[in-house]
Symmetry: C2
Subunit: 456 residues, 2 copies
């Protein structure tokens, strides 16, 4: 008899990943039938028209085919050629060989330098150890490795924000751990509150769950909030008090849109506090920021305050599937090591970066303001990341899943219901990206407006 | 307190992956101290001098930087440009966007056509369904998905060959399942015997293990054996009798070196037997064959005889980490869709392919014959794949791990002890790749010869 659904584990069956769930499947069906769909369900910038950076793709092309150094040298600026030569030289074998399990050392070294430079502000010197950095296929795979390490039994729990990015809930379920949800405070711009964290811990202890780690997504997905230094300090103290590791999902660190708002890494704040007792796993990716290179699956995980014998275990886990893809590793190198002001590619690089980031900031503003003009919809400030997560009023007895499905059917706008991310009982939300081109963002607002007035 | 080793699960701690274990770590240390090391531990062709195929890298470069179509069109043959245009058109967004969770549909369609053409011999028509094909980051990730699906409890066991490729043992341990080893028959060229399979099943049943699947690696890693049609038929009947799924690791399907030996896929033989009851997961990769593109992490899994509701579960699992990397997806497309005889790149492509495959065949022959000339060493015919797995005689009280470490220290030759792959009690082996250039292969044989005479 072939494999049956009844043969599968509950862990597999109960895993749920809403970003690609039934509403998206229906959107694809409608598109195949000829309907125009605006995909606002996923942070996939290049699928919505964002162009890759010329410098990055130039270097990648040369690394894929080094013979172009001879056959078409005039097609590339000098610094592109130099970068490709450096990468090919440092990698030893180009893009075709497995690298070390952790990833190519020169890439890890460049990441460590990037982290040190990013975090060494206000007189606090940072250091990052390349041997504690792992190149991963996108940040998702790094998160999965950290959770794999931390979930040692079915009594082990991970604190995750509500709302959260469903990678966390899905992976915790799949690995047989327990989710401990802590609410973000919508009314204060989705910040973390010590009281809500303690309440969540209290519940967990009551249920006999051994809390192992806390996940923080900053800038927030789906919330768009950027944490203050005080908020980060509070989380670190909380983690220390309860002997938790911290998983800091910082993939949107370049996506900051509001004047005066600044991204601070958990690593930075921990160093400032001279905190060496709390284990930290932080994640970054080439899929977000202004690269938006989701298809290339580049990313890294940095680990701090973890003993060497645990590092060896992480390395072993990474080695089983050999290594992260090398084009993604190279892209990560380029992300942390961009052209310098004197380089021929610099001007174009900066122009392209500024164009992308200012477009995103503009769309965030249009979306936030537009949504807040619609009766029954309230959207917190979109300070960063790539999403709005407005609350919506629903007719009695209706769910946000029904709302999003009806919105799709009637308007072709594809968003993800709040149920997929989590929300306080009695509230309803959807997540939309800020990624569609400005004219489409306006169309999304108009569509939601008309729909909400009639359905909501 | 930071995360401690005692916090980790036994599943993590007991996971063991010898191909990158302590001997390889020591080799890297020695290399850093200036010693010349010949790495025979891992099937990583381009790290040992194999060149990537010009056509493949040309297309990849154009896909990474489509602007080269304008700025350097003369650097590329016409069919390369056409292939890149097709890929960029079919992918819709190029390499920078997440694809569908299963992988880009045109790639899955091309794989289905490749499988149908490969297997439709001797009048048996094959069909392969693109919706049952998953693009994966190398074959490893596909294998892990299949095992994740099949191991539903700690009583679930997977039959694996002994010797095996340690991806299987490592992943089964990590996922909390049970290994059921079945011995391959060394004296008959590492073939599978029905008796040994039944003995393994018998043991498993006695221990209360629920056997879920059987893994077959064909051509064999580490054995180098290629299964006959009769052997494959026997496995299919065995799987049916015991209600097992089959995991067919067929990543070395292009690596056949002996005249008269032919690769037959499990899918082909199952179709010939009109077998629709046995679930089949088969795996292929761009890392082996004559591509040897390990760093690009391309590969696929094809699933047969599995109900649609289980397919939906696989798709869900794939969706959690979004999709396989797109350069790897494109490389997989090129593997299954090479230049045609009338195309301008065809001649060069065939020349490069023939050169690589004939070099590998020559090295397999030199290695097999050379090892068999050494007293105390016996090597079965290397019919395919990329390895020799000779038996070695050891001094009393010594292990093959000590042998391989001493061989490394004394000669700089890095091979992996049989313990890492499994072997019959009382026997000892090592695995070496056939990949080093011919003159290095000869140096390896001389080094092992001198070492064995003195140490063995």
């Amino acid at each position: 008899m072939p494999l049956q659904i009844s043969d599968l584990s509950n862990a597999v069956l109960h895993t749920h990943y809403a970003v690609r769930g039934p509403i998206v499947a229906r959107a694809q069906e409608l598109e195949n039938l000829g309907r125009e769909i605006i995909y606002c369900n996923i942070g996939n910038p290049q699928a919505l028209g964002q162009k890759p950076l010329t410098y990055v793709r130039d270097v990648l092309a040369l690394c894929e085919q080094p013979a172009l150094l001879e056959s078409a040298p005039h097609a590339f600026p000098e610094d592109v050629i130099e970068a490709a030569r450096t990468i090919l030289g440092q990698s030893k074998y180009g893009l075709g060989a497995y690298s070390e399990s952790k990833g190519m050392r020169f890439v890890r070294k460049a990441i460590a330098d990037f982290i040190a430079a990013r975090d060494s502000t206000s007189g606090v010197m940072q250091a990052s150890n390349p041997e504690h950095i792992y190149l991963t296929d996108g940040a998702s795979k790094g998160v999965q490795t950290a959770l794999r390490l931390l979930i040692a039994s079915e009594k082990d729990g991970i604190l995750i924000p509500i709302p959260q990015y469903p990678l966390y809930s899905a992976t915790i379920t799949l690995y047989g751990g327990r989710q401990i949800g802590y609410y973000l405070d919508e009314d204060s711009g989705w910040s973390l509150s010590e009281q809500m964290l303690e309440e969540a811990m209290h519940e967990a202890i009551k249920e006999g769950i051994r809390a192992r780690a806390i996940v923080v997504i900053n800038p927030g997905n789906p919330t768009g909030a950027v944490l203050t230094e005080e908020n980060i300090e509070m989380v670190i103290r909380f983690a220390k008090r309860h002997n938790l590791a911290i998983l800091a999902d910082e993939v949107y660190q370049e996506n900051i849109y509001k004047p005066g708002v600044r991204f601070l890494s958990f690593a930075h704040v921990m160093t400032k506090l001279s905190e060496h007792e709390v284990s930290l796993f932080s994640f970054h990716s080439t899929s977000k920021g202004f690269f938006g290179e989701c298809g290339q699956r580049g990313g890294y995980m940095e680990v701090r305050n973890v003993p060497e014998e645990v590092i060896a275990q992480i390395t072993k886990l990474q080695s089983v599937a050999l290594c992260a893809n090398l084009p993604g590793q190279v892209m990560t190198y380029l992300m942390v090591n961009p052209p310098k002001p004197a380089d021929p590619s610099y001007k174009r690089y900066v122009e392209e970066r500024s164009h992308i980031l200012s477009e995103l900031a503009q769309r965030a503003k249009i979306l936030e303001e537009g949504l807040n003009r619609i009766p029954g919809i309230h959207c917190q400030p979109i300070q960063g990341a790539m999403y709005a997560y407005p609350s919506i009023s629903l007719p009695a007895g209706k769910t946000d899943e029904e709302y999003c499905m009806a919105l799709l059917e009637q308007t072709g706008v594809c968003v993800v219901p709040g149920t997929g991310f989590g929300q306080k009982p009695g509230t309803a939300h959807f997540r939309t990206t800020i990624l569609p081109p400005t004219r489409q963002i306006e169309a999304v607002i108009d569509a939601v407006d008309a729909f909400q007035r009639q359905w909501g």
